[in-house]
């Protein structure tokens, strides 16, 4: 008898849990509820760069507004985002920094060779530790960090020309004042 009840109720319980999860998560990702990291300092990091053979830390970027773009050659959406980011990087004078997330050098290099390299500098996060500190959910993600090293903006997902025009450029203007 017990077995029967389990068979009857188990699917319902699993489904209810799933539904709850989806509901909670949807709130998290809607634009009304910003990421908890916004307004907080960018996590401390020290990472090698992809090409220039330097090691950069969060301190190195202080004193300027900059954009951090999390990408990987394995990420289909980054491919979609790439032209928009390239155009933005060409038109802006703030540094556009890439965070190459969980990517082998050969793959990242090939990807950048094929589609072009829009970044002023690329940080390599092979293990994904820094991405975890940053609360990265999935590539691509974009952060805007101000001159004091405070995260001012986070976008989960693909950058569009519309978002750049209506959100990113006004924000950069504001942060510079």
């Amino acid at each position: 008898m017990n077995k029967k009840i389990i068979f009857a109720l188990l699917p319902l319980v699993i489904f209810a849990a799933l539904l709850l999860l989806l509901y909670i998560n949807m709130g998290k990702h809607s634009e009304q509820l910003p990421s908890p990291l916004i307004g907080k300092p960018i996590p401390v990091f020290q990472l090698p760069t992809l090409y220039s053979q330097r090691t950069l830390s969060n301190e190195d970027f202080k004193g300027q507004v900059w954009l951090l773009n999390v990408f990987g050659s394995w990420c289909p959406s980054c491919r979609i985002e790439h032209p928009v980011l390239t155009q933005f990087a060409q038109s802006t004078d703030i540094p556009v920094i890439g965070l190459n997330w969980k990517d082998e050098f050969d793959d990242a290099n090939r990807w950048l060779k094929q589609f072009g390299n829009p970044y002023d500098e690329i940080l390599v996060d092979l293990d994904g530790d820094v991405a975890i500190d940053m609360g990265v959910y999935g590539a691509p993600e974009n952060f805007i960090i101000d001159a004091d090293g405070i995260i001012r903006y986070k976008l989960v997902g693909v950058l569009t020309t519309e978002i750049i025009k209506t959100e990113i450029i006004p924000l950069i203007e504001k942060l510079r004042l």
């Binding site: 489904f15 989806l22 032209p83 155009q87 693909v158």
Partner: protein
Amino acid sequence: MLAAIGQFNLIIALMLSLLLAIIPMVGYARNNTALMHTGRPLAYALFLAVLSSFLILITLFIQQDFSVTYVWQHSSLELPLRYRITATWGAHEGSILMWITIQALWIAAVARFSGALNLNQLSRVLSILGLISVGFIAFILFTSNPFERTFPAPLDGRDLNPLLQDFGMIVHPPLLYFGYVGLSVAFALSVAALIGGKIDEHWIRWSKKWTNMAWAFLTMGIILGSWWAYYELGWGGWWFWDPVENASFLPWLAGTALIHVQAVSERKNAFRGWTVLLAITAFSLSVLGTFLVRSGSITSVHSFAADPTRGLFILGLLALFAGGALILFALRADKLRSTEAVNFNSKETLLLANSLIFIVATFTVLLGTIFPMIFEAIGQKISVGAPYFGLMFFLIMIPMALLLPLAGQVHWQKDVFTVACRSLWPYASLSIIMTALVWWSVDHINVRGIVCILGAFWVFTATTGHFLKNKKTAGFIGMTIAHWGVAFFLFGMAMVEHTDTEKDVLLKPGQNIHLNGYDFEFKGVQWVNKENYRAQQGQVLVSKNNQVITTLKPQKRHYPKQQNPMTEASIYPGFTKDIYVSLGEQINNQGAWAVRIYIKPFIRWMWFGGILMLLGAVVGLFSARIKRLEQRQINQMMKEELNLL
């Protein structure tokens, strides 16, 4: 004007689907034949209303009516006619309208081809399907109206995403939707049966046909999606475990489990509850897939239009459909108790094992897809990528490939496993020898690849041997073809995953490169003008032993409304390998380019395998045994009606 009519038709359709959801069900509850007879005409009327609305949207695209927001956003004056038509379902609003149209088509088809069901049963099924339609039509009217207007009308549109200006994208979404929506028929049957409190083999036999058909469409849709990603996204991958791809794969996996369990439950009174549960799961996963794509919960290549309100609405629909069905299931599960015992040593056990393997696979993929969400909900971060899926899937599919030939060999009811295993020995030895040959002749293949290839040979030889020895009915032929498909798929996947060659080279015009026995001569890049874009077109002469095989022309396409170029690969398809060339970027002013050359062995075998699977499902529809049983059922119903008179 036309747009207003389109919208009006949708409102009519909402009314009709409401009536369809209520009247036949009330008729069933009150045992009122007149009310129950309204089901069929309502279903046909619903189809006409939705279809006309869909045709109107297509017409708006053809006429370039930019006063309609949706048309303005996804079309432009330069867009060629064929892409203007397909732009109709190129984005969210239109694709939901297409979903509804296909749903209405399935409902009309159910109303038309339901001879084997009696009026009681048919009314319940149609009402459930009507209820599903109500949900989706309300969704489109309240959150995603494709007929919304812009004033004043812009002079030109924003153009269709160039990635979608392609044949693969024209046919991929409709087929996928046919599959998704088709599963709603099996779902509706299960729910209707739960309401009636009784599920017999007629039900299951009847729903099996529809499941097979839906599954075939889903298979085709997934193959086309994979094929499109392969040549259009420009870096030669064919499956990315992207959340949205997973979303289409989940119902397919659950559907596969369902088809195999139906084979048991249509024959004897066993696993009935399990069949019902799988049917509910399969369709719920289709709706979940839509949610994942549209809610913005997960970022992916497909989420062109994500919106939290829409997400919430679909989540509500999911809660209503799947939640309702599962509550009903919990209440009625004890009535579905199996009356016939199942022997452990029988085909039945192995088919049950199949469904368990596929359900485990379903939940593995589901967990991988939503795992980041679970962790996020408790405040931690994690990412799950292709390596997880690849390994887990590999492990789960080993028992599948191992047991498949045995399930073919073992008889229904009662058999002895050891005898069946003994008769499989020749095939096992043969496949080991063949695998050894492959290992010996192909360089750099790893253990995982070899295991897949062994699985492919094992499934192929045993299926073929079994086929040759037995009486060939349509059902049996269909099954054999589908299982051959499994073998072809495994082989192609193992080869392409583990033995492909990728090379990035810098080439000046006139320069040569040698790769895997082929010579590639780069002839330089020229500008060409095409229909609605200009392109830098490279020329690469491919030859083998000084014999020219083909000239490949990869392009960098420049669309007027897009800032950056699109990479269009050029592919020389072949039976045993594809040669794939795409342009990187221009390196200097002397015409040197970064060029990417791939050799993808046996990649087509994978898709061919998928096509065999779907053919198998289609051939299975012509089963004479099922027809005979159905005819008997119809005759019996006629007799009963005559007796009543």
